[in-house]
């Protein structure tokens, strides 16, 4: 899908959030000169083509009590990355799972997943359990817990 100027205006208009009102799409349309139907149609197209990953609520996990947030990194042999990536990605509690490049010699890890929990101890237990259950004992891994958070915002589009 190629975005035209109107799409870009729509993207910019709703990036901060949809109006919370009876006719949110009509309201958005009014601001940028589109009808409600046109807004709905364009948003549907953007969802189908994957430009909008999803529409919905974006939570503040800290404020909801999810304070133990671990980035678990694994040094997976390249030929096993798809198999192990799929396995880890399908677990409950794992919220993101990406392959990223190693930065040798300083950084050997190539598979990253996020686990959000309420307590650090529980997250560590969960990881141990995961290693055992998925038979990952031979894969070196590390859990990096987040400390201070300095910025949390989505990307901004003009």
């Amino acid at each position: 899908m190629v975005l035209n100027e109107i799409d870009c205006r729509l993207i910019a208009e709703i990036q901060g959030g949809l109006p919370i009102s009876n006719h949110p799409y009509a309201e958005v349309g009014e601001r940028i000169g589109l009808s409600e139907e046109e807004v709905i149609e364009r948003i549907e197209q953007m969802q189908e083509s994957g430009i909008i990953k999803r529409m919905g609520i974006i939570v503040r996990h800290h404020e909801l009590g999810y304070n133990a947030n671990a980035m678990v990194v694994w040094d997976v042999p390249d030929e096993q990355i798809d198999e192990i990536g799929d396995k880890l990605g399908s677990q409950d509690c794992i919220t993101l799972c990406y392959q990223r490049p190693r930065r040798l010699p300083d950084w050997p890890y190539n598979l990253f997943c996020m686990i959000h929990g309420k307590e650090k101890e529980r997250v560590l237990e969960y990881i141990d359990n995961l290693v055992e259950r998925l038979d990952l004992g031979h894969i070196p891994h590390k859990a990096l817990f987040s400390g201070r958070r300095f910025k949390q915002r989505g990307a901004k589009y003009q």
Binding site: V59, D82, F145
Partner: protein, 147 residues
Amino acid sequence: MDTIDRQIINQLQNAFPICDRPYQVMAESFGISEQELIERIEQMLEQKQLSRFGPMYHAERMGGGLSLCAMRLPDDQFDRVCEQVNSFPEVAHNYARDHKFNMWFVLATETPERIEEVLQEIEAVTGYPVYNMPKKEEFFIGLKFEL
């Protein structure tokens, strides 16, 4: 936060209807009125339990650049570098982590080429190398919190 609030959060992280009365449609599935749903969402936004309510864009498919970057900083340099890094508008979020790679931030740029430029600017300003770790493959993106 009561059972209905939790249901709202669990349900609305996944999907939001695209139709003329989306709040009406959702409210029916929770057995509450449209007005009540609107009030509950507004309240959760006000209390900052929700950061926003709307679309999550796919940066690369929109033609932009996105990458995870890490830095390895001496403790006594951390605060200075942190301030410098955060002053770049392309830095979307930034976390300290308990590892020798102790600063992790996400860059979101309007073009893919801009990632490399911003990295070089950050290195020049801070005097420390930035390790660029863009996504190569995605195995899961269901970022979701069950309450």
